[in-house]
């Protein structure tokens, strides 16, 4: 059945791939982000590709004061039938730069974590009252263990993961699914130049989107994508601290 879905941070690499797949399934989409021109371009693309409807709405993750009103506006857009929210916005700065410039660290914390709490709480309240819907958050394997090379970004994602786990607990008996997506390394504009696109560990956004949509349809609680990251992260989490310190991870 066609669902009404809000995508936050719809211009991100993963979001674009998710949007295309949802459209193929016939969902009605509301694309939210800062760059309105680019959002319109994506909405148009979806319209041509899947002959389905997609609208756009301006959304600033950092303007937390406006989030409650924004959620109301989105609910009204779908005539009080908002079925799903996918949180895709996020930002990553180089660890070394963020260590020396708190403004960058703060921007990651606010974008990746603070804004998620601010925007998802009113959504959760709405869905809880309606006793249906899903909330899907794109977190990261980087949040599974703090590593010297990327711990400021990683800790924002760890916070997001914990937040989503708590929300899932709260919604356990409310017929609302809360889904945590932990992508591994993805080839997106955000990671371009940081990762080697040809490495077998690096996945395309479409590969991630395939797993995201499947997790949404099944209502899976937490998924790693691609699947083998679950094994990799299990090992990384199991390494004792003193041994871990000797690695360059």
């Amino acid at each position: 059945m066609s669902q009404n879905v809000l995508i936050l941070g719809a211009t991100s690499g993963i979001a674009r791939a998710v949007v295309r797949r949802l459209a193929r399934d016939g969902d009605c989409l509301l694309l939210a982000g800062r760059n309105e021109e680019e959002l319109k371009r994506i909405a148009n693309d979806v319209h041509v590709r899947a002959e389905c409807r997609a609208d756009t709405i301006c959304f600033d993750a950092l303007a937390t004061d406006e989030h409650a009103a924004f959620v109301e506006q989105c609910i009204a857009h779908f005539d009080d039938q908002l079925d799903g929210v996918i949180l895709c916005h996020g930002t990553m700065f180089d660890q070394a730069e963020a260590q020396n410039d708190f403004a960058l660290a703060q921007q990651m914390i606010q974008t990746n974590y603070t804004s998620a709490v601010s925007i998802l709480e009113p959504v959760a309240t709405y869905m809880q009252a309606r006793k249906q819907g899903y909330i899907c958050g794109i977190s990261s394997v980087a949040g599974d263990r703090g590593r010297q090379s990327n711990y400021i970004y990683g800790s924002t994602k760890a916070a997001l993961t914990t937040y989503l786990a708590g929300l899932r607990h709260r919604m356990a008996n409310e017929n609302v699914q809360v889904i945590t997506i932990k992508p591994g390394i993805v080839d997106t504009p955000m990671t371009f130049g940081v990762v080697d696109r040809n490495s077998p560990l690096v996945a395309t956004p479409d590969r991630i989107a395939q797993d995201v949509v499947r997790a949404i349809r099944r209502g899976s609680p937490t998924i790693y994508t691609p699947w083998f990251w679950r094994c990799i992260m299990t090992i990384i989490r199991a390494v004792p601290e003193r041994l871990f310190w000797r690695t360059k991870l």
């Binding site: 211009t11 690499g13 760059n35 021109e37 680019e38 371009r41 994506i42 148009n44 693309d45 041509v48 590709r49 930002t91 990553m92 700065f93 180089d94 997106t188 504009p189 955000m190 990671t191 371009f192 130049g193 940081v194």
Partner: protein
């Protein structure tokens, strides 16, 4: 967002040559327009999916801009079946989206993994060139980001000169942002293919002459190792789009299905000796024997894209890579030139695993567009260093003597003289580039090698 421009060792599809390039990958149109080399004293070239073979989409010590993330569809008009899309969209995407609605690409090269922008910049052609011409025949207009940062709309009426320079212009006039393409309505996703075995080159050329009028698609696989009386023996495949009546019951269940099966992986480079004269000879002989004369109804995917069935098939040629050699020879001289080329090849025993022969229709107004009325031969030659380059030089001489020229999208090593002799409108093209881009921002490894753009101090 990080604005990284990593330096990466990059090659074309042939993996020869390789060069260190600074790579950019804008995720949105706005970031592309702001890209640094356009505004500073940099040099850049656009790159789509990197399917050109040699060095047109690499830029040694300079910038390469990947356009594959800019792949939005913009508009589709059902009445005129014209699709407007950003240049980074792949032909595969267009097939996936439009085949189920009954539209096929009006022109397609031998792989669907190319971008629309790349297809225009190389003015690609397909098995229907003798009848329909190259890609530009179906391009209504395009938007070009020029060196000044301005966006020009170019068509046969508007900015006419720039249009004909951009088509086949290998990205040297600017970055193609989007284009409108007229799709071909078809009844099914299938093609009726008539196979015809030709015992030698004369039979093959004759089959093209008699068959080209009745078939929309026509191509021959040619055995470059056969010599003597069977020199140039070929399997000719000629086809038309199938109607519902041509399909079997099973095919009729889903007559417009876009793709069949999954591509096989080629996970690593094959060892350098995998393609040797013996293995190639065995393959060629088996291929010739396997095919029988007669008609088959085939899905478009294996018919148009036989190699797309294996991902990264170029790895078959090992780490040293391959050179694809593709000349076109005018109709008047093509037979003698082809005989001379085949003699040279059989003598050198440096056979091509995949060799393709095809006839072309008349050339268009593209200043550097490749096809001209005659015959083309496409060879994949494993790179073996000096010996291969000498063979190519000898082949270049034959092509030049017979008034032919080489395809820029395949070229990795032709000389400046060979290029200049083959493309009489070069001066006009250079003149136009100087007007559009006085500081020579758009430049590639190939354009400097061939002297299309100035050397960089």
């Amino acid at each position: 967002m990080c604005t990284n421009a990593p330096t990466i060792l990059l090659g074309g599809w042939g993996n020869y040559p390789l060069a260190e390039c600074r790579l950019h990958r804008p995720g949105t149109l706005a970031t592309l327009k702001k890209i640094s080399p356009l505004h500073e004293n940099g040099h850049l070239i656009a790159r789509g999916l990197g399917r050109s073979y040699g060095d047109p989409a690499i830029n040694a010590s300079h910038n390469v801009v990947l356009t594959d993330a800019l792949d939005n569809l913009i508009h589709f008009d059902r009445d005129s079946h014209i699709v407007e899309a950003q240049a980074g969209v792949s032909l595969q995407t267009l097939l996936d989206v439009f085949m189920p609605r009954g539209y096929f690409l009006p022109v397609t090269p031998g792989t669907k993994f190319v971008t629309l922008g790349g297809a225009i910049a190389a003015d690609v052609h397909g098995k229907n060139h003798h009848r329909d011409g190259s890609m530009v025949s179906f391009i209504i207009d395009l938007q070009l980001l020029t060196a000044s940062g301005e966006v020009l709309i170019c068509s046969r009426d508007e900015n006419r000169e720039v249009f004909w320079a951009t088509v086949g212009g290998m990205g040297l006039t600017g970055i193609i942002l989007s284009a409108r393409l007229k799709l071909l309505p078809v009844a099914t996703a299938y093609v009726t293919v008539d196979y015809h075995k030709a015992a030698n080159l004369d039979e093959a050329l004759e089959q093209f002459d008699t068959g080209d009028a009745q078939y929309q698609y026509s191509v021959a696989w040619i055995d470059c190792l056969a010599s003597g009386a069977s020199m140039g023996r070929s399997v000719i495949m000629q086809g038309n789009h199938a109607t519902m009546n041509d399909l079997s019951e099973r095919q009729r269940e889903n007559p417009l299905a876009p793709r069949r099966g999954r591509a096989l992986p080629m996970p690593c480079h094959a060892p350098g000796w995998a393609l040797n004269p013996l293995s190639v000879k065995l393959f060629n002989a088996a291929f010739y024997r396997k095919h029988k004369n007669g008609r088959k109804v085939e899905h478009y995917d294996p018919f148009f894209y036989p190699l797309d069935g294996v991902n990264d098939w170029n790895r078959l040629y090992g780490r040293r890579g391959l050179i694809q050699y593709q000349p076109v020879l005018p109709r008047e001289t093509s037979r003698t030139a082809l005989v001379a080329l085949l003699e040279l090849l059989t003598r050198s025993k440096r056979a091509s695993f995949l060799a393709v022969l095809k006839s072309y229709g008349p050339q268009n107004d593209g200043m550097l567009s490749f096809p001209l009325a005659g015959h083309t031969l496409a060879l994949d030659l494993p790179y073996t260093g000096r010996a291969l380059l000498e063979l190519i030089e000898a082949m270049d001489r034959i092509v030049l003597e017979h008034g032919g020229r080489l395809y820029l999208a395949k070229d990795a090593c032709m000389s400046r003289a060979t290029f200049e002799a083959g493309y009489p409108r070069l001066a006009e093209f250079k003149q136009l580039c100087r007007q559009l881009d006085p500081r020579g921002k758009f430049s590639s490894s190939q354009s400097r090698r061939l002297g299309i753009t100035e050397a960089i101090a």
